[in-house]
């Protein structure tokens, strides 16, 4: 038998040349092009030429010197290596258990039992029966978190009382950025490559601490319906890529991308990576996983911020006032006002106030000298009330983040600017506009990338680039007695600007900050101080700047969204004119695939009035 093994590769060669021999291993001549093999070594077809290149950027991941570019020689090298005698952690079978399992099945290889202490201990410790894909949703007032984040949780068998998912391990893939790198350097290296991407294993409670407690992100847990064999293969492959470098790129080869690869490997033929084109937005990758019928159950874990906002909102008004008074130090936790309440109500006030104090300490940096003694008082009082259940958890949102509208939007419309008629085509690759269907997105949040507006003026058939939005972020979050978030916006790109006698395309940068207040259900009023900068040689001094204000109303519901208000900008450098605008925009949502939109703007600029009408349809892909 040992001899047989040593001459394995020869046998395979024989099998290729003598395919009639029935009991020899299967045909390997095309095996290296099997999608499962290509996925296991992370090969992608080359953009130029018909070869393959592996995305692994670590020589230790390959057994053949040509492995990075040659699926065939890597397969041959692997076949040879796994059939070599010997055992222990350095043996190829111990280093590459997933490859070994797959080749063994494909070729009916009879390999002797060997021991791999390192891998065995690792997989026994992970003790995984099912795998859950966890999606960290975006949080209020941080549209930049809208893309979300994903990682895998490895769930132990759930058959006894010792099962505890907080202690389950997670696998995630992230850029290993040096802590001292600035954000700009981080962005640059992230986009153009330069950071190694590493796979890390951490207990779930640490992930909860990071996402749920510190970043205020709700977690969605998608339990995958993988079989035990598929789970084992995934764990085996996670072992193969652990400590192996795959360069990290924000837009495509990011955290979500590597997890898709792991799922593809667990269930060959799934081809989730085939869905990735130019970018892999984590929330989109969750949609793909749901669409491929990989999910058996979904659980919602509200963040600390969501929970505290909910438990405060369930208190009666006078108890909310009391909670605020305790939190700000006007009333002591053990004062008469509190202790005179019936036990259950007292417990609810103390619980909500404690959670609020913790939230303020995390989010707003309340100093420890104040927050810690207050927290201690609250818990000590609370511990004297027995048999009252902890606060009710917030209800699960009716529409999950992966069930909102798709993020690529194409719009076709017609309009009129100063009695000139035009048709307009808009393409927006990502992500969400404040007027888009709000279900599955955060209220008042907007994040748009690379939006292109092209106009064809029908009177003279002139095609114009109206606007190219690089990035546009907007966050309107209402303030109340407990929470006082800043509403803000920032954007840059190129747009048409009125110089008095022409509309020229100029680069612009704009920003603003202010407040927003809720006016009842789904409606908020906002007031933002804004600043605009435009740079172009068509402007008299080469650039222009404008302080300004934007005051308006926003209403969002599942049938329609409405934004209306007044804007003023005082151009102070070149044109020295004020630009005043009244605007109203409405979208009527038809399911999650389409919206009809209409907007009207009346503008006073250079001492003349002009109107803009524009209406059409948005389609989401």
């Amino acid at each position: 038998m040992g001899n047989m093994l040593r001459i394995g590769p020869v046998l395979i060669w024989l099998a290729v040349s003598l395919p009639t021999q029935a009991d020899t291993p299967a045909d390997t001549s095309e095996l290296h092009l099997d999608p499962a093999w290509l996925t296991l070594i992370h090969y992608q077809p080359d953009t130029f030429g018909d070869g393959y290149t592996s995305q692994a950027d670590d020589p230790a991941f390959f057994l053949s010197e040509d492995g990075k570019h040659s699926p065939k020689s890597e397969l041959q090298a692997t076949l040879e290596a796994i059939q070599k005698p010997g055992e222990g952690d350095d043996h190829a079978r111990c280093q590459f258990p997933a490859r070994t399992t797959w080749l063994q099945q494909e070729l009916n290889l009879a390999l002797p039992e060997i021991s791999c202490p390192g891998y065995q201990e690792w997989s026994e410790t992970l003790n995984t029966e099912t795998v859950t894909l966890v999606f960290a949703a975006s949080y209020l007032n941080s549209p930049s978190s809208m893309f979300g984040h994903t990682f895998l949780r490895l769930d132990p068998p759930q058959d006894d009382e010792e099962t505890n998912l907080l202690l389950a391990n997670t696998i995630s893939y992230a850029a290993d950025a040096a802590a001292h790198d600035s954000e700009l350097l981080f962005a640059y290296k992230g986009i153009f490559g330069g950071y190694p991407g590493i796979t890390t294993v951490q207990p779930y409670y640490e992930k909860i601490r990071l996402y749920s407690d510190i970043e205020h992100r709700d977690l969605w847990e998608y339990k995958l319906n993988l079989t035990q064999d598929e789970v084992d293969l995934m764990i085996a492959h996670a072992w193969e890529i652990r400590d192996r470098n795959f360069d990290y790129y924000f837009f495509d080869e990011n955290c979500a991308y590597r997890l898709l690869a792991l799922i593809d490997i667990a269930r060959p033929g799934t081809d989730l990576l085939g869905e990735v084109s130019t970018h892999a937005i984590p929330s989109d990758t969750v949609r793909w996983v749901v669409d491929k019928d990989l999910v058996s159950d979904v659980y919602y874990r509200p963040s600390a911020a969501t929970s505290v906002a909910y438990s405060l909102s369930t208190l009666p008004d006078d108890h909310q006032t009391l909670a605020a008074a305790i939190a700000t130090g006007y009333v002591d936790a053990d004062s008469n006002e509190v202790s005179s309440l019936p036990a259950e109500q007292r417990a609810h006030v103390l619980d909500a106030t404690y959670d609020y104090v913790r939230y303020k300490s995390e989010a707003d940096g309340w100093p420890r000298e104040i927050a810690a003694p207050l927290s201690h008082d609250l818990l000590r009082e609370r511990s004297q009330i027995n048999d009252v259940a902890p606060p009710e958890e917030p209800p699960e949102p009716v529409v999950r983040d992966d069930e909102g509208h798709d993020t690529f939007r194409m719009s076709l419309g017609a309009g009129q600017l100063e009695h000139r008629e035009f048709t307009q085509l808009t393409l927006r690759p990502a992500y969400h506009d404040i007027l888009d269907p709000p279900a599955g997105y955060r209220t008042g949040a907007q994040l748009q990338f690379l939006r292109l507006d092209a106009r064809l003026y029908t009177d003279n058939n002139e095609l114009q680039l109206e606007q190219l939005t690089g990035v546009e972020i907007r966050s309107l979050s209402p303030r109340n007695a407990f929470f006082s978030p800043l509403s803000w916006q920032v954007g840059f790109g190129g747009r048409r600007t009125d110089t008095g006698n022409d509309r020229v395309l100029t680069p612009y940068l704009e920003g603003g900050a202010g407040g927003s207040w809720s006016l009842g259900h789904q409606t908020q009023a906002f007031a933002i101080a804004t600043a605009d900068l435009e740079i172009d040689d068509d402007l008299r001094r080469g650039y222009d700047a404008a302080p300004g204000a934007d005051i308006g109303l926003l209403h969002q519901n599942n049938q329609f969204s409405l934004l209306a208000g007044a804007k003023t900008k005082a151009w102070i450098v070149s044109s020295q004119h004020r630009q005043d605008q009244l605007y109203a925009k409405a979208n009527w949502h038809i399911g999650r695939e389409f919206s009809l939109f209409a907007e009207f703007t009346r503008e006073d600029h250079y001492d003349r009035y002009q109107s803009l009408w524009h209406a059409g349809i948005h389609a989401y892909f």
Partner: protein
């Protein structure tokens, strides 16, 4: 199974600078967190910036030799504020996690929860209590309890 859980939690924490679990002063409760820094890009792009948040201190007071207690100490060190919260309420997943780490049987869980809630002020005498002190106080309390002492035997 108990050993497996203890192993898992130690594996998870192995990257942290923690010399001897159950052996130290540990993190002070409600120690100032770094808070949510406006890492706009980090949030967008899911990078990690080295976790300053999970800092901890070590010392050499009353070392615990029981492996379950060590796991509990490890868990308390990163989750002390949430454990304290659940303890004051007499229920919650962090309290359940302590029970799992100590291997407390389902039948004894109600007693376990009640003992910890009733003795909250003993376990956390002040707002400067550290996780190490809290662990020692919990062990002392459980040792005195007829049905719970077996879970903390050295």
């Amino acid at each position: 199974m108990k050993k497996l859980i203890a192993g898992a939690i130690l594996l998870g924490a192995s990257s942290m600078a923690f010399a001897q679990p159950g052996c130290g002063v540990g993190a002070m409760i409600w120690k100032g967190q770094s808070g949510i820094a406006p890492h706009v890009l980090a949030a967008t792009t899911n990078g990690t910036f080295g976790n300053q948040t999970f800092g901890m201190t070590t010392g050499t007071l009353g070392c615990q030799t029981n492996q379950s207690v060590q796991s509990m100490a490890m868990y308390m060190d990163s989750n002390i504020d949430k454990v304290a919260r659940d303890m004051s309420r007499g229920s919650g997943e962090n309290l359940d996690t302590l029970a799992v780490l100590l291997g407390v049987d389902e039948a004894d869980r109600d007693t376990f929860r009640k003992v910890l809630q009733d003795n909250f002020a003993t376990i956390f005498p002040s707002s400067d209590t550290t996780s190490g002190e809290a662990v020692d106080a919990i062990v002392a309390l459980l040792e005195k309890n007829e049905s719970l002492s077996k879970y903390v035997a050295a």
